[in-house]
């Protein structure tokens, strides 16, 4: 017997005696969770946070012995924010890498492409980014779950709050793709319903860095509120140019969503007094025990506080595990049935639940605003919580409106 072989078997033998549970977990094939994400492009900052959230979830699962006694592996792939690449990566993750679950996606249009693949391959998919269609017919499926908020919920909540608190005459600028268009439509609807005026709404292509041509017109129209549906890196370029035209002194600025990773990148000066909704903010740890636990372990592992989209990924990974344990299987339909049977969960910000008809996660959200330079709490405390909006199905479209019969 060679020395190396001897050492290996001796170590394994010793480990078996010391940690039988772990070794049993590793003796079977691991459970693989595929995770397509736009690691490059305008959403890179948010995607990075999601990758970390998912990694933390997988670490926690493996520390507890994995799923069904099997080790868990996370396979992250770059979808480049392109639907066809997202579809291809997903197909590879399922067919070549043998992933039992797909979690992820960070753009409404790419999610749809991922969802097509998971439906076809009968693999459970937990989507972690905003989309109205993914839980509505014809895209919805019994094995597709939606962890994130969606444009309808976000824009109804934020739109209502802005109407009540900031002003009724709006101009909307929105990224010209699924998520942007949906937010624009919902914001417009809320504004009209509450007796407001839309002075104008301007689409621009997602991933733009130049907005100046839009601005003189908006400035001349003198809206009370400028609604910026400008996701990811676009947000920084947009706000920068808005401020360079001096418009922050002429109108309030609000957005359906804040992203702490993007705000950090843009800096406190840029985000001062910019209002918006958010699904999670690390300072919630002051009031919510689950948030505190999550923030602390994230901080310990990565050295920075978690962002708002990483929690979706974290929670989705844990839901894959919870469903599999309940079902005692990784079969998509069985796991889905198990999640339907016990829909309540609480991984990071208090209670959430899967709505039965459409697999939508119903959850709390918050209104926040930028604190401004000199008032931030450390490097990451750029936002201040203004108001909590408790979970309610009423903010989403009804099951019937989404085309579900149940």
């Amino acid at each position: 017997m060679q020395r190396r072989t001897f050492l290996t078997s001796a170590t394994v033998g010793a480990a078996t005696l010391a940690f039988p549970g772990i070794l049993r977990a590793q003796s079977k094939d691991p459970i693989r969770i595929g995770f397509p994400l736009p690691l490059t492009g305008p959403f890179a900052a948010i995607a990075g946070d999601m990758k970390q959230g998912a990694e933390l979830g997988v670490d926690e699962l493996n520390a507890k012995g994995g799923i069904l006694g099997r080790k868990v592996e996370l396979l992250v792939r770059d979808d480049q924010l392109k639907p066809q690449v997202g579809a291809q990566r997903t197909q590879e993750l399922i067919e070549k890498e043998g992933c039992q679950f797909i979690v992820g996606g960070l753009a409404a249009h790419v999610q749809m492409a991922i969802n097509e693949q998971t439906k076809k391959a009968k693999v459970l998919f937990i989507s972690t980014s905003q989309s109205d269609e993914i839980t509505a017919k014809p895209d919805a499926s019994p094995i597709t779950f939606h962890e994130a908020l969606n444009p309808t919920i976000t824009s109804r909540v934020v739109g209502k709050w802005v109407m009540e608190n900031l002003g009724k005459k709006w101009w909307i600028v929105y990224a010209d793709y699924a998520w942007g268009k949906q937010n624009n439509a919902v914001l417009t609807e809320v504004n009209k319903k509450m007796g407001g005026t839309i002075l104008g709404s301007t689409p621009y292509p997602l991933g733009s860095a130049e907005f100046s041509a839009h601005l003189p017109k908006i400035q001349a129209a003198k809206p009370e509120v400028l609604m910026a549906v400008t996701p990811g890196a676009d947000d920084i370029a947009f706000l920068k140019q808005v401020k360079s035209f001096g418009m922050q002194n002429q109108m309030k600025i609000a957005k359906p969503l804040h992203w702490i990773s993007v705000a950090k990148q843009g800096g406190p000066e840029l985000y001062q007094d910019v209002y918006g909704g958010i699904n999670f903010y690390w300072e919630l740890q002051d009031s919510i025990p689950e948030a505190k636990k999550y923030v602390e372990s994230f901080q310990k592992k990565f050295g920075i506080p978690p962002g708002d989209y990483g929690v979706y990924a974290y929670s989705a990974v844990l839901e894959v595990a919870r469903g599999s344990e309940l079902a005692k299987s990784t079969d998509a339909e069985k796991v889905a049935a198990a999640l339907h049977k016990s829909p309540q969960y609480n991984h990071f910000k208090g209670k959430q639940y899967w709505r039965a008809c459409d697999n939508k996660s119903i959850q709390d959200m918050w209104i926040v605003k930028g604190r401004g330079p000199g008032k931030t709490k450390g490097d990451w405390g750029l936002l201040e919580i203004v108001s909590r909006v408790p979970a309610s199905e009423e903010y989403d479209r009804t099951c019937a409106e989404k085309g579900h019969t149940a």
Binding site: L39, T40, G41, A44, A45, G48, D176, G200, T202, P203, Y204, P205, G207, A209, E210, S212, A213, H214, L215, P216, K217, Q219, A220, A233, I236, A237, K240, Q241, S244, F245, G246, Q265, G266, G267
Partner: protein, 294 residues
Amino acid sequence: MADVSLAALAAQVFTGLVLGGIFVLLAIGLSLIFGLMTVVNFSHGALYMLGAYFGYVLMTRTGSFTVALILAPVLVGVFGLLVERFLIRPLYGRSPDDPLLLTFGLSLVIVETARLIWGKIGLPLDPPAALAGAVNLGFTYFPTYRLFVIAVTAVVLLALWLFLEKTNVGLLIRAASRDPLMVRALGFDVGRVWFIVFGIGTGLAGLAGILAGPMRGAYAEMGVTIIIESFVVVVVGGMGSLLGAVISGLLIGQVVSLTTFFAPQLAEIVVFIFMAVILLLRPSGLFGEAGLLE
């Protein structure tokens, strides 16, 4: 959309001037390189991006925007010289497709390298304090920095024109662009002219990058869309024509700006519609001479 005030329209024209200025700086470099060497430099967008990142590094190191504004284009130009010397020069005399493919591949390499060095997430660039904020132009507030961009573009164009028209090197460049064979027969080293021109052209791309940085931020993909628009500018102006590049750049800046004003949905495609119309009317562009690619 009924009340189109004159003031808003004037502001729109100014905005278009800035857009156009960046287009011109990029297109003139492309056109210069193409006109002289028949090299379609696909890495121009990546060099534009390098200009912004070099500017960022210089600004954080020296704390001076002026130093960054001067040195970043020079560094990009030097990089361009190396590219010409070691990558493009071996391909002279072969079909124009070869350098095109090479520079296309090079652009991918540069973008990936930028991602490796500076990260996948963009970096913020701020205009210097003296140029931050907005100026009251009487009819609108306009960002000071953008006025500065218009001024720099104008100065650089003037300097380039004087260089080409009034200096001996400029004369040689113009002669080599008209008839390289004759210039060679007269005993001049045409290869050296090409070398210099490639340096100037890429340096201008770097200048456009550092100028655009404080408006748009620096990110690895920033050259990807603008290179296409710049090609459109070159094609509309006439391949190889410098005057064409200037006029068509300013024209397209206005077309984009005014379309955004009246019909924002069309702003993205209007550039291509404009190109199609021009090419239908004048197949070799506004100021182009036929047959350069044959």
